[in-house]
């Protein structure tokens, strides 16, 4: 596995650049990752990221967009505004979890 240094911390990433170790993630890293894809994190983004990480920890898989909206309480419309175009993948990238595999 390749490694990368984000915000001064060395982490392992996959070929696409997604982090592979849940425990290596920090909020500073998230801010750095978001910056790399042109997103400036505010409270609304953090609400989503905290939910994605918490849900991943509990369920063992990355929540889909629908799950973030129905369980996480952030409406679909807003998810597309916060993480434009590919919200599910972008939120997973920033939250340091794998891309979601669910179809819906």
């Amino acid at each position: 596995m390749p490694t990368a240094t984000f915000a001064g911390a060395e982490v392992t990433v996959d070929e696409e650049g997604f982090m592979t170790e849940f425990d290596q993630w920090t909020r500073e890293i998230a801010t750095h990752l978001a910056g790399q894809i042109g997103i400036d994190l505010d409270d609304k983004h953090w609400q989503v990221i905290d939910f994605v990480r918490g849900d991943y920890e509990e369920q063992g898989e990355t929540p889909t967009l629908r799950r973030v909206s129905t369980i996480g309480g952030v409406p679909t419309k807003q998810l597309f505004q916060l993480f434009p175009k590919k919200p599910a993948k972008k939120m997973a990238y920033i939250a340091g979890v794998p891309k979601p595999h669910g179809c819906v």
Partner: protein
Amino acid sequence: MTSTQEAPVVVPDFGDDDEDRKICFIASKGTLDMVYPSLIMANAALGEGIETHIFFTFWGMDIINKETQEDLQFTWLGNTAMHPPGMKMHMPQGLAGLPGMTAMATKMFKKQIADMDVPDVAEFVQMIADAGGQLWGCKMSADMMDLKMDDLVDGIQGIISATEFIEMSEGAQVIFT
């Protein structure tokens, strides 16, 4: 020190600059099982940042008709692929025609969909509209069924003719379901 300068870090390509892909689904069926393919794929396409349209036509109008949307039915009559989950047997075709069988099959189908955490049809259509999906009713079908915009659920952008659909779908991948 915050950021770093070491070896080039791979940043995933989220395709933010890709503007050329466009998908149009034609939803022509109103049986509950055949409604899901276009909804699921349209939703997935939107999640990938692709411009996505669904054109509802003929029986597919039932998906966006307020009167029928919550009442779509499933039957295995004419569907020889129907076998109960986990069982190596096909459901006898004759059984499907008995009174009450469509209601029972519909109930079971809805339960299976819900168990997979997939939304029901009304919620799904709303979710697609919220995600930026563009939803269209078919003019000829609307005329045949005497439907106006007021009869259709929220989120439908308009009732358009076949010609308008063909114009709109120029350059798109078109998928008939």
